[in-house]
Each structure stands twice: as C-alpha cells, then as structure tokens.
Amino acid sequence: MIIQNIFFWVLALAMVGAAIGVVRSQNVVHAALYLVVVMAGAAAQFILLGAEFVAWVQVIIYIGAVIILFLFGIMLTRAPMRGETSLDNDQRFPAAIVSLFLAGVLGTLLVQAFGKKEVVISGAKGEQLLHVGKAATLADSIFTTYVVPFEIVSLLLLAALVGAVVMARRD
C-alpha cells in the first residue's frame, strides 16, 4: 500500500508540474513534450488502479498518435518556437482566477462527497482482487453490453476522418 502511495504522489507531482508546463511554456514544442509527461503519468496511474489495458491504449494512442499529430500541427502552422510573440492572450489573469475558483469548488465538493473512501485493489497479501481492468473482462463488456456504442464510435471516427480530410484539404 505504502509503495503504491509513494508512486502515486511522485507521479501526481510530476503530472501537475508537467501540466502547468503545458499551459505556461512559451515554447510550443516544449508544451507538447510536457504533455507527453502528463499522459505517461496518467498511464502509470491507470496501472496503479489496475487498468492495464486502458493504460497501454493510453500510451499507444495518446503518446504514439496524438502527440505526433500535435507535432505535425505545430509544424504546419509554423508556430513560433521562442517567445517572439506571446503565446498567451490577454485574459490570463481572469482565467487563472476562474480555474482556481473551479478547482476550489471541485476540491471541496469531492472532499465532502467521498471523504476517506478507500479504493481496494489488492488484498492483504498483495494478491490482485480487481479484475475489471483486465483485457478479457473489458472485451466481454465491449462486445456484449456496449457493442452498439462501440459501433457508433467507429462510425464517429470515420466521420471525423472524412471531416478532417475535407477541411484540411486545399481547394
């Protein structure tokens, strides 16, 4: 338990730091790299929570695909690499206030709502108690209960693909 907690806090700190990096960095490519850190951290958190399959999907899709996409985007839009012009707009201050306020509200509510409820993942002897994150369990769920949404998501992806092509095409 303690080890897991330690892992958690280390990862959490890294993620928060990297996240702040994403939104504060004055270099676009750096921001993208910070994002990699956050995503990898999130994947690690998933493993902590016993969801291995999702964790690997996270790594493959986010770190593997999405980040590449972002890099392409940065390249294609010739985003300024160094602080030639500010990457931020003029509402930084109100934005900070709003997000802090939101964080406060959310935090308070969460503490009120869930207090000290435990997440039990492994038993006293370290044996795995949780099976919900296993690939087999997930596959069962996806292809039985959630098969219709699954198909719809596939359609959505197709639509997004076509849409992105149509929009980005020069004509």
Partner: protein
C-alpha cells in the same frame, strides 16, 4: 314547392357563380343569366305563395276548427279567425353537430316567408331589368350582376331561414353585398368610405344580433330553431329577464341593419352606390331585414319588452324617434337620393315602432307596401338622373321642370310620392293606418301622435322633393328626355303595385288577407291585438297629409308671393340654428367619424400600438437590455478591479471595440469560454450550498 323552397335561393347562388366565371364571355355580359335566374326564382316564389294560400284555405275549409285546434294545443297556437291552425312548412337537413346540439339548415315557409319571397324576387327582377339600361356602359357590368345575384340569394336565404343561425348567415351576407355594391365605383375615396361606413355600422349592430342569437339559443334550451325560440319565449322559459336581455340585443341588430336611430347614419351615405342598388338594397329589401327579424322572432320581443302591457318600450321608442328625425332630416337635403334615404329611415321607423306597439300585421304590411313605392321612387330618381340631369342627383342645381320631358317618370314618381304620403286609397295609406290604429287602440296613444306628426312631415318633404324635381324651370345644362323602356317598364309595374298593394289588407272593406294568410298561427302571441278600422283616425291622417302638401306646395311653389316666409331660416337665428343642426345631421356623423372612429383609429390605436411597442415590447427588450447592462456593469467593474494595472489588454481591447457597449460580445470564443467556466463554477457552488 313548399317543401322545396330551398330552390328559390339556390338558383341565384348558381347564377352568381356562373356570372362570376363566365359572365364576361356572354353576349350581354352576364345580365341575361341574372335576369333569367331571378325570373325563375320569382315564378317559383309565386307558386310557393299560391300553394301556401291553398294550404291556409284547405285548413280553414276542412277543419271547422276542432280537429286542428286539438292538434295545435300546447304549441302556443293562436286560433285564427275561426280557430284555424296552419303549421308552417319546415323542411331541414342536418347541417352540423357540435357539443350535443344538432343544427339543421333548411327552410321555414309560412305567410311571412312567402310574402317576403314574393317582394324580394319581384323587386330584384325589376331592378335587374332596370339595370341593363341604367348601367349599360359600366366598366364592371358583369361583376355588378354577379353581386346582384349574390345579394338576391343572400336575402332569400335570410327569408327562408329555419333557424336564427342561418338567419345570421344570410344577414351578414347581405351586408357583404351591400358593401360590394355601395363601393361599386371604388375608384373614388368617397364611395369606398361610404361602403366601409355601411359595413362597419351594420356590423356594430350585428354584435347585438350575434349576442342576441346566442342568448336566445341558450334561453330556448339550446336551440336555434325559430319555432322553438318563439315558443320558448312566449312561455317565458328560463325567466323573463333573459328574454329581455335577448330582445334588447336583437333590437341593437335591428337598429344597425334597419337604419334606426342612432345607427342610421350609414344609410344616406350608402347612396354612393348605383341607384338601382339603392332601390333594391337600401329601400326595399336589405334594410327591412331588421324589421323582418323583428317579425320573425316576434315572440322574443313580445315577451322581452312585455309589449302586451302597453305603455313605453325600447322598440317603440327607437322606432318613434327614428320616424321624426328621419323625416326632419329629409327636409334639408338637396340630393334627391338623400331625401329618399332619410325617408326610408323614417318609414323603417314606422315599421319598428309598429312591432314595438304590437301591430305585427301593421309592420309587415307596411314593409310590403313600402317596398313597392320606395323602390319606385328610387328607380324614378335614377331615371331622372339617367336621362334628365346627366348623372346628377342635385335637385336644386340640375333638375326642375322635368315633368314636361319625362312624363312616364313624372307620373309614376307622383304615384309613389302620394303612396308614401299616405293618401287614400294608395298603398301607404292602408299600412300606415293599420299601424296608427293599433297603436291608438292598445294603449300606445303617444305613438299614434308621433306617427301622425311623421305623416305630416312625410307629406311635406315629398312635396318639396317633387316640386324641386319636376316643377318650375329646368335648371340643368343638358337635354332631358324620357328614359328607355328597360327603365320605364319597371317604373310602371311598381306604380301599379303601389296603387293596388294596399288592398291586400284594406280593413275598411273587410279585406284582411294579411291577417288571414300572413299572420302566423303557431308560436305567436295568443293575445296579440286585434284592431278595428278607425275611420276617424284615417280621415285625420289623410287630412294632415293633405294639409301638409298644401302648406308645402304653397311654401315652395308660391314662394314669390310668400315673401314673409322666404328666407325665414336665414333671418331667424333660432330657425337658422335649427337648420344648421339639421344640415349637419344632428352632428351624429361628427361624433361617429371624428370622435369614435377617429379616436379608435387615431389616438387609441396609436396609443395601444405605442403601449405595445414601448411598454410590452419595451419590457421584453428592457429585460434583455437590462440583463446586458447588468452584465456589462458587472463585467466592467470586475474586469477593472481585476485587471487594472495588471493587464492593460482590456483597456486596449475596449478601445478597439469602440466603446463600452461591446466587451461582452467580443466574438472571441475564449472570452465566452471564460464566462462559461465561471458560470459553471458559480452554479456548482450554488448547488453545493443550497442542494
């Protein structure tokens, strides 16, 4: 034919459609269709009338009273002469069903209906023929005939109606036709104003009719049927008050349609239409629809106004006032049609008064005779305008001395005038006398006096009118000649009727055909007044009329000799004031046009529009604007508090935006998103606190 009377109005309906769509292609522009259709209707109406007379004869012949009396017991049947009950012939089909009430459409043929069928179709036929000449060159000849057909159809529908709802339908449709025909020459503003005025004024009265029909519907335990309404009214079903209210409302309808005081002002203006239309609609048929309504549902008035108890009642008072004011106004008109129009108002006053004093037969009889001589007078005036004065109706400027040029018109016009003045033995004498006698013998002495004064005035203004038109020197600038045959023949026919019509009910000679054939025997007041011929009264009224003619003739013809009287109105300030008052039609028109209509159209309408735009809409817009203002203020203050000194962007942006009005709608997605998230946070907080 009695069961198939629906054919009579159906034929003109058909002819209306045919003329409207094919009339222009016909060699005579559709007039032949109209004449043929109305002619057929007239024939059928005659057949219906004869069959009805036979029915009455059969009833009295067979019965000896006993059997049929028993049959009619409990139906509020009145035993006629010899106790004969003649049921009206009612044939109906289902029209619609709603809320547990089945409303039928159909015909109710009885004496009153056949009399009206005869009058309407006859006069309509004559007017159709007359118009072929009178409107020969008119631009909208075909549409004119279509409208005439529609009018005839509507009036006949009204006449044969078996229930009050159907009556209301016909009633409104004749109003429409009146509108169409008054506004026939719609290029001129004055004509269209007159048309609008006629429609709106009668429609004001129609509110009364509509409510009256509704009240009688409920008072008769949810029935529109005329027989049931009358029977329920006479039985006093659901209490007396409801019938009083119902009768008052119906009276308002009559006032509007039949040009009674104080809604009479549209009728003279309606003379803007072609003259044959004035004859047909505004003298002989449509305007008597009000009187017809009164006669049709007489039970309601009898019960509502407690006519049997004598004294005063609203109906008689309205009629009485109308007689006097109509006649008085007729004196000061220079336009021959206006004289006749005011005379019509006055004569309609007689009819309404007759109903009010319990002289049902008198009212209906006067309606009958008046239709002939007033149509005659109007058509005569039209003939004068057509051939004598070149489409002018101004007696003082363009007429005078026409008797030499237009002998047929002159003679027939004279007959009409004498009949109107009520000189023995022409039609007007008999009917007017019937009314006066009934009033005198049944506790309405006041109205006898009013009637006599009215007779005096009638005789006088008609003398003036005839004198100005036909005597003296010709004052126009054209070449007067006699009118063509299509015009004179209807005049001659009508003159014939004006002479003989009175003998239909000449009580002096014990001819009481109206009492025998026309007066209903079912659902009719049992104790309606009988009347004896009052020879003294008759002599008095004729005497008065003759005196009036004499004085008036002296006044107008012998003006030169009576210098003392000449210019009297100019010299005496009191008389002058009176004259001005009359010329201005009691200023009622000003009240209506300027104060009421102007008020509604102008200030009130504008005010409510203003209220709409500024207050109601303003509140809505105000809420929106207020919200924006609040949002703006809040935003600006918070913005400045937060941003002041920290970020100078806002100020720059505000400047860019060109004012303080627009920071909220920056058009920038992120600005919106900022507000969105702030709002989400606030709502979440609110939910957390209050939830």
């Amino acid at each position: 034919m009695l069961e198939y009377a629906w054919i009579i109005p159906a034929i003109p309906v058909l002819s209306f459609v045919v003329i409207l769509f094919f009339g222009k292609k016909m060699p005579k522009g559709g007039s032949e269709i109209g004449i043929f259709a109305v002619g057929t209707s007239f024939m059928l109406a005659c057949i219906t009338a004869v069959q009805w007379f036979q029915r009455v004869e059969n009833a009295s012949g067979k019965s000896g009273g006993a059997a049929l009396s028993a049959f009619g017991k409990g139906l509020f049947a009145r035993a006629g002469e010899g106790g004969v009950i003649v049921q009206p012939v009612v044939s109906t089909v289902r029209w619609f069903q709603m809320g547990g009430v089945t409303v039928s459409i159909g015909t109710r043929i009885d004496g009153l209906a056949v009399m009206m069928l005869f009058v309407v179709t006859l006069i309509s036929l004559l007017v159709h023929i007359y118009s072929t000449a009178y409107l020969h060159d008119d631009v909208r000849f075909t549409y004119y005939y279509a409208a005439l057909s529609l009018f005839t159809a509507s009036m006949l529908t009204l006449v044969v109606a078996s229930n009050t709802l159907q009556l209301l339908v016909g009633w409104e449709l004749v109003g429409l036709c009146s509108f169409m025909l008054i506004g026939h020459w719609w290029e001129e503003q004055a004509n269209t104003n007159a048309a609008l005025k006629a429609f709106l004024t009668t429609r004001t009265g129609d509110v009364g009719l509509m409510i009256g029909v509704i009240i009688t519907f409920f008072a008769a335990n949810q029935s529109f049927d005329i027989g049931k309404v009358n029977a329920s009214a006479l039985a006093g079903l659901n209490g007396h008050t409801i019938w009083l209210v119902g009768a008052s409302c119906l009276l308002i309808g009559i006032i509007g349609k039949s040009g009674q005081f104080p809604l009479h002002t549209w009728l003279p203006d309606a003379m803007a239409g072609p003259t044959p239309v004035s004859a047909l609609i505004h003298a002989a048929t449509m305007v008597v629809a009000g009187v017809y309504l009164g006669a049709r549902v007489y039970g309601v008035f009898w019960q509502g106004f407690s006519i049997h108890s004598g004294g005063l009642n609203a109906m008689a008072i309205v009629g009485g006032i109308t007689i006097l004011i109509g006649a008085a106004l007729a004196f000061v008109q220079d336009d021959i049609k206006k004289v006749l129009a005011y005379s019509t108002i006055s004569q309609l006053g007689y009819m309404v008064m007759a109903l009010g004093v319990g002289s049902w037969v008198g009212a209906v009889f006067h309606l009958f005779t008046h239709a002939f001589f007033k149509a005659l007078l109007f058509l005569g005036a039209g003939s004068v305008a057509h051939s004598g004065s070149h489409h002018s109706f101004d007696m003082k400027k363009d007429m005078g001395g026409l008797r030499k040029y237009m002998p047929v018109t002159f003679i027939t016009f004279m007959i009409g005038s004498i009949a109107l003045a009520g000189i023995f033995p022409l039609a007007g004498f008999w009917s007017k006398d019937e009314i006066l006698a009934t009033a005198g013998q049944n506790g309405f002495e006041l109205f006898t006096v009013v009637g006599l004064i009215g007779a005096l005035m009638t005789a006088a203004y008609m003398t003036r009118c005839v004198y100005l038109t036909f005597f003296g020197e010709y004052r126009g600038h054209h070449h007067p000649k006699e009118s063509p045959k299509a015009i004179t023949i209807p005049l001659i026919v009508l003159a014939g009727f004006s002479v003989i019509a009175g003998f239909a009910n000449a009580s002096l000679f014990d001819i009481e055909k109206f009492k025998q054939y026309i007066e209903p025997t079912v659902a009719f007041p049992k104790n309606i007044f009988g009347v004896d011929f009052d020879i003294g009264l008759a002599a008095l009224s004729v005497g008065i009329a003759l005196t009036a003619i004499g004085i008036a003739a002296a006044f107008w013809i012998e003006r030169k000799e009576l210098k003392g009287l000449k210019g009297l109105t100019e010299r005496s300030s009191v008389l002058k004031a009176g004259h001005t008052f009359l010329v201005n039609k009691y200023y009622l028109d000003y009240l209506y046009t300027d104060v009421i209509v102007g008020g509604i159209k102008g200030p009130i309408a504008r005010a409510s529009y203003w209220v709409n735009m500024n207050i109601i809409d303003g509140v809505i817009n105000g809420v929106g604007k207020g919200a924006t203002v609040i949002g703006r203020v809040v935003y600006r203050d918070i913005d400045q508090l937060v941003v002041d000194g920290a970020v100078n962007g806002i100020a720059r942006e505000t400047d860019q935006a060109g004012g303080l009005l627009r920071p909220l709608q920056s058009g920038r997605v992120q600005r919106y998103a900022l507000m969105l998230f702030a709002a989400v946070g606030l709502i979440a907080l609110a939910l957390a606190i209050f939830g």
